[in-house]
Symmetry: C2
Subunit: 233 residues, 2 copies
Amino acid sequence: MNRYDKQIRHLVAVDCIIFGFDGEELKLLLIHRGFEPERGKWSLMGGFVGEAESLEMAAARILKQLTGLSGVYMDQLNVFGDPRRDPVERTISVAYYALIDIHKYEKQLSDDFHPEWFSLKQVPKLIFDHQQMVDMAKSKLRDKASVQPVLFELLPEKFTLPIVQNLYECVYEKEFDKRNFSRKVLASGLLVKTQAKERASSKKGAFYHRLDKRKYRTQFQSFLNLKPSILNQ
Amino acid sequence: MNRYDKQIRHLVAVDCIIFGFDGEELKLLLIHRGFEPERGKWSLMGGFVGEAESLEMAAARILKQLTGLSGVYMDQLNVFGDPRRDPVERTISVAYYALIDIHKYEKQLSDDFHPEWFSLKQVPKLIFDHQQMVDMAKSKLRDKASVQPVLFELLPEKFTLPIVQNLYECVYEKEFDKRNFSRKVLASGLLVKTQAKERASSKKGAFYHRLDKRKYRTQFQSFLNLKPSILNQ
DNA sequence: CCAAAAGTGTTTAGGGTACACCCATGT
DNA sequence: ACATGGGTGTACCCTAAACACTTTTGG
């Protein structure tokens, strides 16, 4: 078969919005850009898409390069294609957001890119349209989290209910009533209470919970049963 | 500044999933592909992204080329980047879905591509991964429509409540109680009842309604107040 | 013994759902 | 007159929201 020879070709990049949660704050992993233009400025981790590489593969490769992690939760966010978004040369960027367990990351720190975690409340000035990508990722994460239990991807294997609540409060930038919150989350049936207690952050101690992995997979689509009411009838 | 000279470049295309509604059924506008490979097969309308053309511009251009319409509601769906999705040569495709008023279209029929409307219940075999694009578009349309009143983009200026209900029933493939449905939709305050009646489809006749355009714009984000309950507290 | 965070139950209000009859009119 | 689809009101139930006290234990 012929090739589409007369057509123009484009640079295609992938940029990753990497979220983490340390128990206190929602965070973003940024790198110190190591080359011109904008050398030394803060940037999302990114890279060009290879010749026979799918977009998901490219995103996973870039994520692994920075964090050492694979098998991480990722989701396509949006494509940014403004011809002048990169001043050097037109680059079409496919943005992915990833949710990682920040504790797993810390062990494997790869310092080539001088990466740093920033609180989402104090994101430094970013290059190009990366701030727009971050804003869109925050918004999409909220939408997703209201329908699917994706936020647990940010937590370690064992976590307490107060931690889960704090995570949701960070994502939605709102405070919830702890009685109503725990009732709702436990009603999903996704959490299993363990006998162990976390004792660092309070005197009484809070019970660790873990995900019921089978239910987590099978009920992933129906978390909180929050489909719009038009659909319920 | 330097260019990213060592990087590989890719063909980037845009494909459009074009929805229409004739009052009876939800429909999809497909074209008869006019060139090899897969000549004569049914396909989504698409085209390559030009040199200094944004993705939105490309999508709008392609839509106008086929339908004669501009200023149409469009939304980015997803990027499809599997290296082997187009057997001729690797092409990264950005999919957009569009909602058009099918009546406006019919006047401007451009026959170059032998386009045809298909019921979503009887979509013919499509080339490449276009069926996957259609499925994803249907799913995204449902999600959007549960939160924003986008489906009115499919309707003409004046429409009856039974037509609106039928549209929602087509999109969600479910039947609704007409009393509850009209109460909910009218409670949004987005519709204005006119004195005119539609008389073709029933003896009694149904009142035409139109959008309150100011409210449609300002309340677009809060249609049906169906945010998940975690957010409400 | 006190401070600090964890854990738990009840009441109330609002919205969603189910449900049935009358209306207008073309034939 | 009758068949067809349009239009409207009510009662119930369920879930979300508001709200306060007891428990545990480290210091």
